[in-house]
């Protein structure tokens, strides 16, 4: 048997953020293929965190360093954004947030020339190129493997919040999908997508993992494309359902909310993990992808249905003590305000299409918005 995975200790509830970004050409706003040039250029600049390639040449990934809280994460993301925007300007590239490019043709995608990505393409065929979607991952530090397993189970109930709050992929392959987030559908096609099994603790999880590894299905945690998964080598759990928001500010807000929510779940312990959460998970996930905050969520704890937006507002109120302590009150409040006034990035993108009449214009405006600083605009 291969050596057992050790869960690396990390500062409980510390934050890490990864966002995948779109590279677009300025003359037709279609996806560019210049990730290599951009990364080479950024390598020469002083950029905090890390900039990495992704499976196709049309995307790059920004990784933050480990951050104690919302303010630090936002400051670092803004510094990264400014550096990326500057480097992209030299190459005449636009950089865009959002979970999907509105009209690119997946068959035109080119795979980044690295062995890892070639292997992914060999194994998954067209899925690899179709996977040119752009997500945000939020890492939360855990003190132990058991805490990680507990948090994964408890946070699953809240994944629809993160889907609805980040939703920014209403368009796909030139069409309005009618979804708030069409991106997650692309993830569902992979054989190892879905969720972690309902295991009681880290030891039980390791047993499951070793079984899968024994079958030769997985080699490491990276092979599970779950919505939320433990990441033992970092000592974190990783929330993977978010679309990349249209601004780095919103990416930081989401991380702040995740931190406050996780803190509340760790401290409160009023509820225990429930297998029924996974029974309704696919339904809740669909509602959030399709309708955003207007979707309905089934809560197996109370055996009731409620609007996802309302559930977010109630949860935001409940986590306020933790948010106050962790310094992310503003983040939680700002997201709640957006829910109340019906703002979503997906809605903004649709409004831009209605106003401008063409998807290339939507991309141009989204790129301008990503590169500019500032708060959420009024609709």
């Amino acid at each position: 048997m291969a050596e057992a995975m050790e869960f690396k200790h990390s500062q409980s509830l510390s934050l890490g953020i990864e966002i995948e970004l779109q590279l677009v050409r300025t003359h037709d706003r279609d996806l560019a293929h210049e990730a290599g040039d951009l990364i080479e250029r950024l390598a020469k600049m002083k950029v905090p965190g890390a900039v990495k390639p992704e499976v196709t040449l049309s995307m790059i990934e920004l990784n933050s360093s480990i951050q104690p809280g919302f303010a630090g994460a936002l400051a670092e993301l803004e510094a990264q954004r400014n550096a990326v925007a500057k480097a992209a300007g030299v190459l005449n590239l636009g950089i865009c947030g959002g979970g999907s490019h509105p009209f690119h043709d997946w068959a035109e995608r080119r795979v980044y020339p690295a062995d890892r990505f070639k292997e992914v393409t060999r194994r998954y065929g067209y899925l690899a190129k179709q996977f040119t979607v752009f997500g945000q991952h939020i890492h939360l530090g855990c003190s132990s493997g058991d805490e990680a397993v507990y948090l994964v189970h408890m946070l699953t109930r809240y994944m629809p919040h993160f889907i609805a709050l980040s939703a920014a992929s209403p368009f796909y392959q030139g069409e309005d999908t009618s979804f708030q987030s069409s991106r997650l559908t692309a993830v569902s096609a992979f054989p190892l997508s879905g969720h972690m099994p309902f295991v009681p603790d880290w030891a039980a999880f390791l047993e499951y993992f070793e079984t899968m590894r024994g079958y030769g299905i997985v080699e490491g945690m990276k092979d599970f494309y779950w919505d939320i998964r433990p990441k033992p080598e970092y000592g974190t759990i990783e929330i993977r359902v978010c679309d990349t928001p249209l601004t780095v500010r919103r990416a930081a807000l989401l991380a702040g909310y995740a931190q406050a929510l996780a803190a509340w779940l760790v401290e409160d312990r009023a509820r225990a993990p429930l297998a029924a959460v996974y029974q309704v998970n696919a339904y809740n996930r669909f509602e959030a992808c399709r309708f955003g905050c207007e979707g309905e969520l089934v809560d197996p704890y109370t055996r009731s249905r409620r609007k996802i937006g309302q559930d977010i507002l109630d949860t935001a109120a409940a986590v306020m003590p933790q948010a106050t302590r962790l310094g992310c009150v503003d983040a939680v409040r700002e997201l709640g305000e957006d829910v109340r006034r019906g703002y979503s990035d997906a809605g903004w993108l649709r409004a831009r299409l209605a106003a401008s009449g063409s998807l290339p214009d939507v991309v141009r405006e989204a790129a301008e918005r990503w590169s500019a600083s500032g708060k959420t605009p009024t609709l």
Partner: protein
């Protein structure tokens, strides 16, 4: 008998320009496909070879390709190409990336002075050498556009190749027009017309481009973001402008290049959708290359072989100098500068038109120097597209299917 058969045409029948267009299109397409399938060469090379075959020196099916009827197709195709090229010239990029702007200007000056010095070394008269150097500065817009489209190329080398080509075409024409007054004076016309003629050409082309762009942008705004309507609008304005430029004796290429540059950079309301001529544009491009193949003149190649070789070589070195020097500073990746320089090698239809038009104003140019320029064109018409294809493929910017 004759009365009964009145409906028959005179014998032999007279085939007009339409049959010429169709015939060249068909022949060019076949030649391009054959060359592409059998030898894996760019289709452009096949079009040119068919042209050479049809031209006066071999089969003689096409005589005088740059006069009369056929010239309409050349102007139309060149007009469409340089309009699209102008539309790719993003002045904001040059403003943001000063090293790039400097490299683009340096590329023009490098090529110009390298050729100028080369020709002076061979004792050509300075004024003629300057005119030839101006012509030689331009990269063939048709070749870079068609080859990059055919390869579905996308990336920094491709973008910069198109940008540099747009810049060096503008430079070449402006330089040529600035030398015209001196040509006029040597030609003993009055000093008034010597000054007025270039001014007329430059101001005429610029105003034509500006007015056309305003019409285009205004109507596009009114039409809204509808691809089918805007396509008709673009073709209509481009063809109309080609016609007007011809009627006013203004160089079509400058007018249309200006139109494209204005249409891109003055489109503050983002009224125009991204430009795609697609298959429709290809029709004209095939004919353009066949016709430029037919106008190639290999006869002088033997007598001016050395000068031609020097012309081609120093032109390349002149272009490469500033690109190599400023490549990294302007954000090119390692190895990119050499490939970019190589991609800018082509020289073709545009140069033919420039030489032809200069020679009509100043016949001595035709007699003395055209041979060198035309031999260089003949040489580069064959190796230019290969160089561009090689560069884009090795830059990894061609679509993987190629």
């Amino acid at each position: 008998m004759q009365d009964v058969a009145w409906f028959l045409p005179a014998w032999p029948p007279v085939f007009g320009d339409l049959a010429l267009f169709g015939g060249l299109l068909l022949a060019g397409m076949l030649g391009g496909e054959l060359v592409h399938r059998v030898l894996s060469l760019p289709r452009v090379t096949g079009y040119v070879l068919v042209g050479v075959l049809c031209g006066p020196q071999v089969l003689g099916l096409v005589r005088d390709p740059l006069t009369a009827g056929a010239r309409v197709f050349v102007d139309l195709a060149l007009g469409l190409i340089v309009f699209e090229l102008g539309h790719r010239l993003d002045l904001q990029w040059l403003a943001r990336n000063r090293w790039l702007a400097l490299a683009a200007l340096g590329e023009c000056l490098g090529a110009f002075f390298a050729i100028y010095a080369g020709l002076l070394y061979f004792d050509y008269p300075p004024l003629l050498a300057a005119c030839a150097a101006a012509v030689g500065t331009a990269t063939s817009p048709a070749v870079v556009m068609v080859v990059s489209t055919e390869l579905r190329a996308s990336g920094q080398i491709t973008e910069r190749m198109l940008l540099f080509t747009a810049v060096n075409c503008v430079f070449a024409y402006v330089a040529l027009m600035l030398f015209l007054p001196m040509v006029h004076l040597q030609h003993e016309t009055s000093w008034r017309s010597a000054i007025l003629h270039p001014m007329y050409l430059l101001a005429g082309a610029a105003s034509l481009g500006f007015i056309g762009s305003q019409v285009m942008l205004g109507l596009a705004k009114w039409l809204g973001k509808r691809e089918d309507r805007q396509f008709i609008l673009l073709v209509a304005v481009v063809v109309l402008e080609v016609g007007i430029a011809r009627a006013l004796n203004i160089p079509v290429v400058v007018a249309l290049l200006t139109l494209g540059i204005f249409a891109r950079n003055l489109d503050y309301d983002h009224a125009l959708l991204p430009l795609r001529f697609g298959h429709a544009g290809q029709l004209l491009f095939v004919v353009l290359f066949v016709l430029s193949g037919a106008s190639l003149d290999f006869s002088g190649l033997e007598t001016v072989a050395t000068v031609t070789a020097v012309f081609v070589l120093v032109r390349f070195l002149g272009k490469a100098l500033s690109i190599l020097a400023l490549g990294r500073l302007s954000g090119l990746r390692a190895g990119g500068a050499g490939l970019l320089s190589l991609s800018l090698l082509p020289m073709s239809g545009l140069a033919l038109v420039m030489v032809y038009d200069t020679a009509t104003i100043y016949p001595r140019f035709g007699a003395e120097l055209a041979a060198v320029v035309l031999s260089a064109v003949a040489l580069l018409e064959i190796i230019g597209p290969l160089a561009t294809q090689f560069a884009l493929k090795h830059a990894g910017e061609a679509h993987p299917e190629n």
